[in-house]
């Protein structure tokens, strides 16, 4: 799924071992077995479902952040947009009297418009995504606070709606199938379509991509609008999980999402990365913060260990690549020079 496929069959296994995703998978497996060995309830199905429920919203944001970062962009506004969509969803249902499904659909529409605003400023005015979304980060949160004047809280949603966030359907948390569908959709988009290839091309060299005939502006606009829609979906799920919508919903989620994407091996400069890497990133953070509770460790440690995890995972795969390059270079050096250098 990356840009450098192995050249011969014999390189295959070494290549797999060196991949960032493999390192991350090992880390995840280690976390799982470690917490399972000390926390008697850690490995239960109930707890697994707790982890899923608690990470769906951040997971959705991380999924949709992946194509954005692949294009060399960033979206700092997704957490604020989650808050704005949550309270607008509440307003549409409670004050405008719309039925829940219609309110949901409108909320997704609002998310698309908000994402469209980011897209417009980035592609049309050619402003840097960091600046644009830093602005909308404040704008969306500010709007949410202004609309509710910081105090209005939407609650008493019908139980049939709360099922989406709190109950199980067919034995799994109700939001899990939604997450899986979105995950598969974005995986296919990034890894199995020409769109996905164009995201990477744009991330590597936007001008090159433009000369190659890729409609850069349209593709970039697409990923930000998609982020808006998915952030709105996350807002609806969040509201169902908590049973309330308030202007502070999703505070700080943008950074959790970006952390998961970067931990998953996507380059912050764009061009390389994968959706399954992001999923592994989300999972290792979720397992870590949940596992610490079962290990009876204070919650503050979670932030610290996430940092250590990030540095370890990124550092070790960078180191592995460096060693491989060094070895490859040494093998190609003629023998007489090599003997001089290393007596």
């Amino acid at each position: 799924m990356s840009n450098s496929y192995p050249t011969s069959k014999s390189d295959g296994w070494k290549f797999i071992l060196l991949r960032h995703e493999t390192v991350l998978l090992l880390v995840l497996a280690f976390e799982w077995f470690y917490f399972n060995s000390i926390g008697p309830r850690f490995g239960t199905l109930d707890n697994t479902f707790d982890m899923v429920r608690h990470s769906v919203e951040i997971g959705l944001l991380a999924l949709v952040m992946t194509p954005i970062i692949l294009t060399g962009g960033i979206d700092l506004s997704v957490g604020s947009l989650l808050g704005l969509c949550a309270i607008l969803f509440g307003k549409l249902w409670r004050d405008a009297g719309l039925p829940i499904p219609l309110a949901m659909a409108c909320t997704l529409g609002i998310g698309a418009v908000a994402g469209g605003l980011n897209a417009l400023l980035i592609t049309w005015l050619q402003l840097p995504p960091l600046i644009v979304t830093l602005g909308s980060y404040s704008l969306f949160r500010g709007l949410a606070e202004a609309i509710t004047r910081g105090v209005d809280t939407f609650t008493n949603f019908p139980p049939s709606f709360l099922v989406l966030g709190q109950e199980r359907l067919l034995g799994v948390p109700a939001q899990a199938p939604v997450f899986i569908v979105i995950a598969i959709g974005i995986w296919l988009l990034v890894h199995r379509t020409t769109f996905g290839r164009s995201f990477r091309a744009i991330g590597f060299a936007p001008d090159g991509a433009r000369y190659a005939g890729i409609p850069v502006e349209r593709r970039v606009a697409l990923v930000y609008v998609l982020a808006g829609v998915v952030a709105a979906l996350a807002a609806v799920i969040y509201t169902a999980r908590l049973g309330q919508a308030r202007a502070d919903a999703g505070t700080g989620y943008e950074l959790f999402a970006i952390t998961a994407v970067v931990l998953g091996g996507t380059s912050i400069f764009g061009g390389t990365g994968s959706v399954h890497g992001t999923l592994l990133g989300v999972a290792s953070i979720a397992v870590l913060s949940n596992g610490l509770v079962h290990a009876r460790q204070p919650r503050e440690v979670a932030g610290l260990l996430t940092g250590v995890l990030l540095i370890f995972a990124l550092g070790s795969s960078a180191l592995a690549k460096l060693l491989a390059t060094l070895r490859a270079r040494r093998q190609t050096v003629p023998t007489n020079i090599q003997s001089k250098q290393m007596p």
Binding site: T22, W32, F33, N36, G43, T44, D46, A249
Partner: protein, 338 residues
């Protein structure tokens, strides 16, 4: 494709080994604490770094040691309003015996607390309540009547039962403040008819606004003997105004607030008394009540409850009331660090 295969095998392995434990569901209680009847009490603050709750925890630790129970203290460390729910859900899975929570989001947390009760975990709230159907009891730190009476009694004592005073509140619409205000007025009318309230001013919960309001009150009412601030930022605000006007000692300051925010003014003699409850006692009482709830001694209809070293407490409906607020002054304020 090989790496994908490896990925799926690995993930499958992890899930398979994890899930084979799913048969033992959370019904059974207190297995975590290693056999016997050692209860696990989970105590949640509104936020973990808050000095108020750290002080609650000291009392809670003392009660847990006395009663020989495990105390888990955890709460949000960031402003994410979903965190309290996540921690509660983790506790449900952990299978704690009792959850005692100070609720940041009344409605939001109630859904998680109801779920805990469905799973057989006992739930009580302290400091700030959840929806009544989401918990068995609320450990109430102070009734509006207790707060109003204590403030008025202290004001009358300092003024010698005679003279003018003014009140600074957060806003004229805040429900809890209006309730306190009502009890202050009732106490004044019945016990201190010579005391006269000359003004009631809002400060929007801002210290600098409280200071400018207090300055205006001081110049408009030359006979003013006392300023009563009933929201916490207003107490140091009023004290600063009195100090800057050079009226230290001639105009007294009292109010509802944290000892730490007012220590300086109390020591300088600007503020006479700060009124709050003993947060350590609140933590102690909460854990005592939690254990009694776990043992089944505390249940609906019980009228009194004995909480270790603190003695008997009355129960009004489903409220366990900590009692009269405590008065912090020059003599005792150094013993408190919240």
């Amino acid at each position: 494709m090989k790496k994908l295969l490896a990925l799926f095998i690995g993930a499958g392995l992890a899930v398979a080994t994890g899930c084979n434990k799913s048969s033992d569901s959370p019904a059974s209680i207190s297995r975590l604490s290693g056999g016997g009847k050692k209860f696990t009490i989970a105590l949640m603050p509104k936020s973990k770094g808050n000095a108020y709750f750290i002080s609650c925890k000291q009392g809670a630790d003392a009660a847990a040691r006395e009663l020989g129970v495990d105390l888990v203290f955890d709460g949000p460390t960031d402003p994410d309003p979903a965190k309290q729910n996540e921690i509660i859900e983790n506790w449900i899975t952990l299978g704690v015996d009792v959850i005692a929570a100070a609720c940041e989001n009344k409605e939001g947390i109630s859904t998680a607390l109801r779920k805990a009760r469905q799973k057989g975990i006992k739930v009580l709230t302290y400091d700030s309540d959840a929806a009544p159907d989401a918990r068995s009891f609320f450990v109430n730190q102070a009734t509006p009547e207790g707060i109003g009476d204590t403030l008025m009694d202290e004001a009358a004592r300092l003024c010698g039962n005679d003279g003018e005073f003014a009140v600074i509140t957060a806003s004229l619409t805040a429900a809890n403040m209006n309730e306190w205000q009502k009890h202050i007025e009732a106490r004044r009318a019945s016990k201190y008819p010579n005391m006269k309230m000359v003004a009631l001013r809002p400060c929007d919960d801002l210290k600098d606004k409280a200071q400018s309001e207090a300055t205006a009150l001081l110049s408009a009412n030359p006979n003013l003997k006392l300023l009563m601030a009933i929201c916490s930022p207003a107490v140091p605000g009023a004290a600063e105004a009195v100090k800057q006007a050079g009226k230290t000692g001639r105009v007294k300051v009292i109010g509802l607030g944290l000892p730490s925010e007012n220590r300086r003014y109390v020591k300088e003699g600007v503020t006479d008394s700060v009124i709050l409850w003993k947060t350590k006692d609140l933590g102690y009482l909460t854990v005592q009540a939690a254990v009694a709830l776990a043992k089944g001694e505390l249940k609906a209809g019980v009228k009194t409850f004995k909480a270790g070293a603190l003695g008997e407490f009355e129960i009004h409906d489903d409220n366990i009331v900590l009692g009269k607020p405590f008065i912090f002054n020059k003599d005792n304020i150094d013993q408190f660090d919240f």
